[in-house]
Symmetry: C2
Subunit: 137 residues, 2 copies
């Protein structure tokens, strides 16, 4: 374990640990400013402290950004470092987000791209609808 600054358990710095913790314990996605507000009493004062930690956590694959919500969630899978395509199901009623996985889908999309002369690197898929709990049929 290579340590830079003062690092905590997973090799994260203090700020990164705090931001990751906030997202891990949240019921649903959090905006950067919601995280900032939660962490004010831990010494956070400015949005950049949050955004910088978020950038790092994303690059580590520990969290994901929900483009259509301008917010962030902790990764729900043990290991999705290597995955290029995320699928998020966003419930329009309760606001909760679940992260789906389907490798064949990823391949299919990549193939669709290639057929159109596009070399895909990453892919974000965000569904809107109703989750099981909010539409129990």
């Amino acid at each position: 374990m290579k340590s830079d600054h003062h690092r905590s358990p997973m090799g994260l710095t203090k700020n990164q640990t705090l931001v990751f913790g906030a997202l891990s314990h949240a019921e649903g996605p959090l905006s950067a400013y919601a995280i900032l507000d939660q962490l004010r009493d831990k010494g956070f004062r400015a949005p950049l402290q949050v955004y910088r930690a978020l950038d790092k956590l994303i690059s580590l694959g520990l969290i994901h950004r929900l483009e259509s919500l301008n917010s962030f969630v902790a990764c729900q899978h043990p290991e999705c470092d290597d995955r290029e395509s995320m699928v998020f199901a966003i419930c329009e009623i309760c606001g909760k987000v679940s992260e789906l996985a389907d490798d064949s889908l990823e391949n299919q999309i990549k193939t669709l791209a290639k057929r159109n002369g596009f070399s895909m690197k990453t892919c974000a898929i965000e569904l809107r609808g109703h989750c099981r709990d909010c539409r129990p049929n």
Copy 2:
């Protein structure tokens, strides 16, 4: 053709026509504020004028919102009113966006959602990578 206000060719109002025109003639996606700037000399003064037109055009299926870019593009298909899943390929080099279509993909995603107890209503898919022109191999 039902006319409300002063309507132009396609049943659009003046503001909607101007905004749609700006997007139609653009090389790539435009942000709301980029549209606003283009239309200042047509009398546009405030972001809401743009956003309201955008909302309407989106609901008509004439344009799409790119969630990961906070910007907008004119629809490239003659008719995609009915389509629920859009696929956009965003070139990270030239910034151009192409709109792909694949019905089987839409079904596959919907099925994936259903397997996870999620009833999908709409879906946004945004790819990042290199387009044909920017990576000609």
